[in-house]
């Protein structure tokens, strides 16, 4: 498998990269880790005229804690995120997710920004950012804007990022007290794309009731999406296995899986119910401090 022809540039600064994207709008494609894009190029499913490699652009791969939020650089690799203890302490879901993406080599090079901008409905990060109600910072030559994750994923391989923009940062809120989070992924084999993946976050109030819930689903619709009906149904309810089972059923009601080699749609719907309940259970036990 050999890619078609293209030009390649490696700008030394973000401004230069953004200038190129503006000047070559519609022709250029951003190259981050390459583990999403290169297979498409080799299969000749994508044939861009120009690849803009961001590896020499500094300052895009950091992980920073601010008073307001976590800021993960778009070029932070899955592995760098996996190994960040501070992030994992606050958001165990991050470690669940990063550790299950692809294989070690993929985690060494694949990036969170590349993964989210690529918007494969089967990749794992989008569901997490959706569940945590995070946002994406996008920069163009004209300026910067921040887009909420909810509303960002428009269709398969299609997001709200403009062709002249770079996804520079993923922002995640801080976890309130009594919050637990988990990502549970059902895969056919190690390194596989998810059959179903569920990102769950629960914040409990002092009485043990659910104050807020976030649920993001991977691989069961044309885009990753937030199971908003299930989230709403959980608020005010005592965190309990039965409620999680009910929430799983409601989440399945919003899923639109297709039959493929991972299994028939009927199975995937059942797995949305099952895996959602499991993810919520794990998130709740973490919120209670028992896991």
């Amino acid at each position: 498998m050999i890619p078609g022809q293209f030009e390649y540039v490696r700008p030394g600064s973000l401004d230069e990269a953004l200038r190129i994207l503006r000047d070559r709008e519609g022709e250029a494609k951003i190259l981050s880790g390459g583990y999403s894009l290169l297979p498409l190029l080799k299969l000749r499913l994508a044939q861009p005229a120009l690849l803009v490699d961001l590896q020499a652009v500094g300052g895009l791969d950091g992980i920073a804690r601010t008073d307001d939020d976590w800021r993960i650089g778009g070029r932070a690799t899955h592995r760098r995120i996996l190994e960040h203890d501070g992030l994992a302490a606050e958001w165990p879901i991050i470690r669940d997710t990063a550790g299950g993406i692809g294989d070690p080599q993929v985690r060494n090079w694949g990036t969170i920004g590349g993964s989210c901008a690529h918007a494969d409905p089967g990749s794992d990060w989008p569901a997490v950012v959706l569940a945590l109600r995070g946002s994406f910072t996008c920069r163009s030559a004209g300026g910067e804007r921040t887009l909420a994750a909810r509303g960002f994923f428009l269709d398969t391989f299609q997001t709200a990022i403009d062709a002249t923009e770079v996804l520079t940062e993923v922002r995640l809120p801080h976890a309130p007290g009594r919050t637990g989070s988990a990502y549970v992924k059902l895969e056919r084999r190690a390194g596989d794309f998810a059959t179903v993946g569920v990102a769950a976050v629960l914040t409990l109030d002092d009485s043990g009731r659910i104050a807020s819930a976030g649920i993001g689903l991977t691989a069961v619709a044309e885009t990753p999406f937030a199971a908003t009906d299930a989230e709403a149904a959980l608020v005010g309810v005592v965190a309990h296995d039965e409620a999680f089972g009910v929430a799983g059923g409601i989440a399945a009601g919003q899923a639109r899986p297709t039959s493929d080699s991972h299994g028939p749609a009927e199975y995937k719907l059942a797995m949305v119910r099952e895996i959602t309940a499991r993810a919520l259970r794990l998130a709740a036990s973490r919120a209670h401090g028992t896991a």
Partner: protein, 168 residues
Amino acid sequence: MTTQHVSVTVNGAVREADVEPRLLLVHLLRDVFGLTGTHTGCDTSNCGACTVHVNGESAKSCTMLAVQANGASITTIEGMEQGGKLHPLQQAFWDQHGLQCGFCTPGMIMQSAWLLGTNPDPTDHDVREGIAGNLCRCTGYVNIVKAIQQAAAELRASEPEGAGAASA
């Protein structure tokens, strides 16, 4: 066809070439530099036969462009033997019968080397997780795990006194 100049350090030596931007790193190594120890097995970054180190990190060279590696330092299986002495992993794969047809072996050894660099004292499960991106069709992995553990023990033993503590 436009070409771009790439300069990489491969196994310690600077190598240069003018290449098409679309040239895959694995083809730069094999077809341009003649380092045929790195193999292609699946084309879709599932099998890991093409694993090399790029700036110290294991990478699948069939899923990286040669131009992406421009300026990088690359280690391939050909760079593992030093001064006529096999790398402990090479020796261990031989000792433990960790290979049969040998096709996945270079990638497997390179991935194992990366793994032991990040986790010098892995459990068997850690080892299996560490090589989950490298497929072997011959060995059933049992002896590969043994080989990696043999090399891990040897590398730990050969570490200078106190080096482990100092870095902890």
